[in-house]
């Protein structure tokens, strides 16, 4: 279907042509009118969005367009639908965009993207955490640039922590278990997380990957085959299982992180892993009952120290774009130090540039920036591959069974290992 489609088969199909072409072409011409400019596919705020789509650096953005003789048109969509529209467009060879947002999907869509990030100015690259390119690099080529430092850290309710008799955030797995256990009282729970959706970054499997790295394990060996049927893999899952008695039992049914966040914001859970954006939500009196009580800390250390995963919000350039250079210029503008600063000050999304993260004004406005920066000193591999969705569904489903007590941790890990091996081998 994808290659074989041409005008002849279209006519043979007897086509929509007749019916559809006869229609007046009003409202249909926008895509063409914008062809002279840059077309950017972006999530809608409050998810991370660029200037013009979100309200920040709008003057600088207008100036950039004037200076570069480019008009930028945004196609925005709610985050949960981004992947489907991209998949459809790429699968049919008709992606209309110059720049797209990307989130751990770079290996999946690699053949449709340009490895532009290899040619970014050195001054910019040096100001970015080297490991931020981990999820956008395929076969040694860099296809994307992460534009916000988004790592999971521990968020906790200070008041509940103190009531449970602790002075500071748990630093180790044992402290975390003890702390969660003490916090679980009066209809409140020590811990909450969204274990409902197995797939993707922020899904059940990815949370297990956090514990896996804290235990010192890795998902894949040097040969690219899964290597997690190990003591580390089982210990990571066992840690999650051990937390279950002090975890909100609803966690297994929460399909989105929002469902779990609300429990924390209602003051009925003590701790959760969450993304930096959480900070603003927790301190918004309209949504939160714990304004001023929220604190964040580096995730508790397992046997091999702390670790996290990467949210990997990145900009990529579509291979079929006719404006490769301008597109790269625009991405460089998104990563400009001043724009990055406004990004965090006006939208709450942390910058990725180390110099901006270290800026005193930024640290004052986003007190969790220092924590995320500290978290970034520890491993934060999301283990993204071309078959990431399939792999995370396979692992996440097994993790869910262990959390529900229908399998032992060891059994679930063994089964997940077998399933992932089959997936990797099928791809060949």
């Amino acid at each position: 279907m994808i290659h074989s489609f041409n005008r002849r088969t279209l006519l043979k199909a007897g086509a929509a042509a007749g019916a559809a072409m006869a229609l007046p072409d009003f409202l249909g011409s926008t895509a063409r009118a914008q062809a002279a400019g840059l077309n950017v596919f972006s999530p809608l705020p409050p998810d991370p969005a660029p200037p013009g789509a979100a309200k920040f650096s709008e003057e600088a953005f207008a100036k950039w367009q004037a200076d570069n003789g480019a008009t930028v048109a945004y196609e925005t969509l709610a985050w949960p639908q981004l992947h489907d529209r991209m998949a459809t467009a790429f699968a049919s060879g008709a992606a209309p965009w110059d720049i797209t947002y990307n989130c751990g999907w770079v290996p999946e869509f690699e053949s449709f993207l340009s490895p532009y990030a290899d040619t970014l100015p050195k001054a910019l690259v040096d100001d970015l955490p080297a490991s931020s390119f981990a999820t956008t690099t395929v076969g040694g080529k860099r296809y994307g640039t992460v534009f916000t430092l988004s790592l999971l850290t521990l968020f906790y309710n200070k008041e509940l922590l103190e009531q449970a008799g602790f002075k500071e955030a748990p630093k180790t797995w044992d402290e975390m278990k003890a702390c969660a256990k003490e916090m679980t009282r009066d209809g409140r729970f020590g811990f909450v997380l969204n274990y409902g959706d197995p797939a993707g970054i922020g899904g059940t499997a990815s949370y297990w990957m956090v514990f896996l790295q804290q235990a010192g394990g890795k998902l894949y060996g040097e040969d690219g085959l899964p290597s997690f049927k190990s003591d580390e893999g089982v210990a990571a899952l066992q840690m999650m299982v051990d937390l279950m008695p002090s975890t909100d039992p609803g966690s297994i049914s929460y399909a989105g992180i929002n469902d779990a966040t609300n429990v924390l914001l209602a003051g009925r859970a003590g701790m959760m892993m969450n993304w930096p954006f959480m900070w603003n939500a927790a301190n918004d009196p309209k949504q939160s009952q714990i304004v001023g009580k929220m604190t964040s800390a580096v995730l508790p250390a397992g046997p091999k120290g702390s670790a996290s995963i990467d949210g990997t919000d990145a900009w990529t350039i579509v291979k079929s774009s006719k404006n490769q250079d301008k597109a790269q210029k625009l991405i460089e503008f998104y990563l400009d130090a001043e724009v990055q600063k406004r990004q965090v000050l006006d939208t709450g999304w942390l910058p990725i540039r180390l110099s901006v993260l270290g800026d005193p004004e930024v640290q004052a406005k986003a007190p969790n920036a220092a924590v995320v920066l500290e978290q970034a000193k520890h491993p934060y591999d999301s283990f993204v591959t071309a078959d990431y969705n399939q792999v995370t569904v396979a692992i996440g489903t097994e993790v869910q069974q262990a959390l529900q007590g229908s399998k032992t941790a060891a059994q679930a890990i063994a089964d997940a290992h077998e399933a992932v091996t089959a997936i990797v081998k099928r791809r060949g």
Partner: protein
């Protein structure tokens, strides 16, 4: 007199009916009521357990925020109206004669044709989304409300035909024979006799086609970009990766369901009017 009373039933039957109506009202209205309450509350109050319904938590802010972003919602409603009216009108214009022919006229293999028409709806939309996208994008008609309307037509037409065909099959054949004796042609019989007595099924079919087109999400997601976005896509905007602004989403849902309810109120007499109350009084 006594027959009319029989239709109402004895005391026991009346009680059963009243209890049934009460249950039906609760079953239909309770979730909708909760939707409306949610649209009037701050998120903070909604995540309390039990939800905190004290007066100071009620606010119109969700609505004002949604309306402030009215460009998107207004355009969505306009697009949805065009798409829905377009596909509904065509589905009835094409569907009613087809259904009549398949039910009453000697079309060869009428049952087979009718089943084939229905079979086009048996493949899940997910399977035809990508091929359909390819066709429409080759025609340059992505992000066009009318191409979306044509796609919805292909989903609604078979159902409309089936709904109407079932009713046409039930028309006593004496009516047509009488019309033929009076010298009415097939068109005239269809237009002046069959259609007027078929208003209830026609309005049921129209309501169906309209609502399905109004609410369709998946193909609207695939086949539009920005200009042709319909209401469901606009509503979905309130559910992001990290946050669902529930109150605003519900406010948008209330606003977007209003035109449909308004249509239902306007056409309620069409929906209500029955065969028995209409021309064919027995």
């Amino acid at each position: 007199m006594s027959f009319a009373r029989l239709r109402e039933g004895g005391p026991l039957r009346k009680t059963v009916i009243l209890v049934g109506l009460a249950l039906f009202t609760f079953w239909s209205a309770a979730p909708v009521l909760w939707l409306i309450i949610s649209s009037l509350l701050e998120q903070k109050a909604l995540i309390a357990q039990p939800p905190d319904l004290s007066p100071q938590n009620f606010t119109l802010e969700n609505f004002s925020t949604v309306l402030a972003a009215a460009a998107a919602l207004g355009r969505g409603i306009a697009n949805s109206l065009i798409v829905s009216l377009f596909s509904t009108a065509l589905a009835l214009v094409l569907g009613a004669p087809a259904a009549y022919a398949l039910a009453r006229l000697p079309v060869p293999r009428a049952n087979g044709i009718a089943f084939l028409i229905l079979a086009t709806q048996m493949l899940p939309g997910i399977a035809i989304a990508i091929p359909l996208f390819i066709v429409i994008s080759k025609l340059g008609l992505i992000d066009n409300v009318l191409s979306l309307g044509v796609v919805y037509l292909s989903f609604n037409l078979p159902i409309v035909i089936w709904i109407l065909r079932g009713f046409f099959l039930g028309i006593p054949s004496g009516i047509e024979k009488a019309a033929a004796v009076d010298g009415a042609g097939i068109f005239a019989t269809f237009w002046y006799i069959v259609l007027p007595i078929s208003l209830p099924p026609l309005s049921a079919a129209a309501v169906f086609a309209f609502v399905e087109a109004w609410n369709e999400f998946f193909f609207a997601l695939i086949l539009t970009r920005q200009q042709a976005q319909t209401v469901p896509l606009v509503i979905a905007q309130f559910a992001g990766q990290y946050q669902t602004v529930f109150g605003q989403m519900m406010a948008a849902a209330v606003i977007s369901v209003a035109p449909v309810i308004l249509l239902a109120v306007l056409f309620r007499n069409q929906i209500i009017r029955g065969f028995a109350d209409g021309m064919m009084k027995g």
